[in-house]
């Protein structure tokens, strides 16, 4: 009794690389699909995207060996697949973001934050804003992992995420999060 668990599956180190990818895909399937919906903004397109990306991932000869790295790699494969389908222009729109609310009193009504309002707010965000929240909060990636998936510096992940959350708060609150800064914003 020295293994972590008794299981019919072999340990990671005894599996082929394809097995590692397939296991990661199966375990992350629903979150990958959620990310696909975030990217596409459309469930039908998301289903096509995740199927296509999964086939590409399974067909790769040199995927990462470690499960955690393989999981991040799968998200990157899907994102690249999405970009290849002509969405790069949307990705580049990510620089137009609001001004940060770091000064003055904070009068936000936390009581409005709930699962349903967050879900509704996410649906109202721009795809690039929804994407970063999907990766960090819903899929649980660290900043460095998200940076690897998005192929941007970690600092970009930080700023993109913080502004996406600000936009989410505004979507939940109805535009009352930062009344002073809104007039100077670029959104």
């Amino acid at each position: 009794m020295l293994a972590w668990k008794r299981t019919s599956d072999p340990p990671w180190e005894e599996r082929s690389l394809g097995d590692v990818v397939e296991q990661c895909l199966r375990e992350s399937w629903s979150r990958l699909y959620g990310y696909a919906v975030s990217l596409c903004g459309d469930r039908e397109a998301a289903r096509d995207l995740i199927q296509s990306s999964a086939v590409k991932a399974l067909d790769t000869n040199a995927p990462p060996r470690e499960p955690a790295a393989a999981r991040a790699w799968l998200f990157r494969v899907m994102r690249n697949d999405w970009i290849d389908r002509g969405r790069r222009a949307t990705v580049r729109a990510a620089d137009r973001e609001p001004v940060e609310p770091t000064e003055g009193p904070w009068a936000y009504e936390d009581a409005r934050i709930a699962a349903i309002t967050v879900r509704q707010g996410l649906d109202r965000l721009e795809p690039y804003q929804r994407e970063i929240i999907e990766l960090v909060d819903l899929a649980g990636f660290r900043y460095a992992e998200a940076a690897e998936i998005l192929e941007v510096p970690v600092g970009t992940v930080m700023s993109r995420l913080s502004r996406a959350r600000l936009a989410l708060l505004e979507a939940i609150e109805g535009g009352k999060v930062m009344p002073l800064e809104r007039s100077r914003g670029t959104r």
Binding site: E14, S16, Y33, D137, G140, M158, S162
Partner: protein, 258 residues
């Protein structure tokens, strides 16, 4: 007026700041109610987002492309070899010890030093190695809680119940030990603290488990024990739900004190 930027506030909530930057934000929160309010809002927003369920209408999993199966099987693994070595060495080294000792109490006594922050000893009780790979297929993956596998020791008990002690370390140095030994009747996690070491012990699937820490908040330890006990259940694998549960456990209760 606060001097902490919005990006930094977000990184603080995400536990992405290093220890000194995090301490600076915490100090600023203590003297600036408006900053504390921002942190509270972001924490609630993040908690609700983290808890959102994944979509349920995902399409079926595709079949693997025929004839294109990657075959580069990898058989590392320094860690796997280390475990095997540890176990073999542990078995031989401790066969002469008197039976009857409580294996958990003996483990706590043997690993108290590591739990307190000491580096692995080259000699003394048991066989120990520092681990650099951060994870092992033979042990639970707690990376979702930012806990990396850093230390392994052969259980120093020789009465036939020897097992394995795995040490995990958090991003700020918090230490959590998991002992796996021969099983008893199935039981849910319960607190069986040994001196200043907080211990949560349970049994399942022919194995006994004990999660232990000196500096971890009892509530957080309870949460980790519940999640890892769930993960240890027959047929359970580390899926997104458990990853989220691990991540939530890592932020429950008070801060770890070491």
């Amino acid at each position: 007026m606060t001097t902490i930027g919005w990006d930094e506030i977000n990184a603080y909530v995400d536990r992405e700041l290093d220890a000194s930057a995090s301490a600076a934000v915490a100090a600023a929160i203590a003297r600036d109610p408006s900053l504390a309010a921002r942190v509270a809002t972001l924490s609630k927003l993040k908690a609700e987002a983290v808890g959102l369920p994944a979509p349920t209408e995902a399409p079926p999993f595709p079949a693997r492309p025929a004839g294109r199966r990657p075959v580069a099987s990898w058989r590392p693994l320094a860690l796997a070899a280390s475990i095997a070595l540890l176990l073999a060495a542990g078995a031989g080294a401790w066969l002469s010890r008197a039976p009857g000792a409580d294996p958990l109490a003996a483990t706590v006594a043997a690993e108290r030093g590591w739990l307190a922050g000491a580096t692995p000893e080259a000699s003394g009780a048991g066989v120990r190695v520092a681990v650099e790979t951060g994870a092992s297929s033979s042990l639970p993956d707690l990376s979702a809680a930012e806990l990396r596998l850093a230390y392994l020791a052969a259980d120093p008990v020789s009465d036939g119940r020897r097992g394995l002690f795995a040490g995990y370390v958090g991003p700020h140095g918090c230490r959590l030990g998991l002992w796996i030994g021969r099983g008893a009747a199935r039981s849910a996690p319960e607190a069986v603290d040994v001196g200043d070491v907080r211990v949560r012990r349970w049994s399942a699937d022919g194995a006994s488990y004990a999660l232990m820490s000196r500096g971890m908040d009892p509530l957080r330890l309870d949460r980790f024990a519940a999640v890892i006990a769930d993960l240890a259940s027959p047929g359970r694998t580390l899926d997104d739900g458990l990853r989220i549960a691990l991540k939530e456990a890592s932020t429950s209760g008070g801060a770890c004190t070491g």
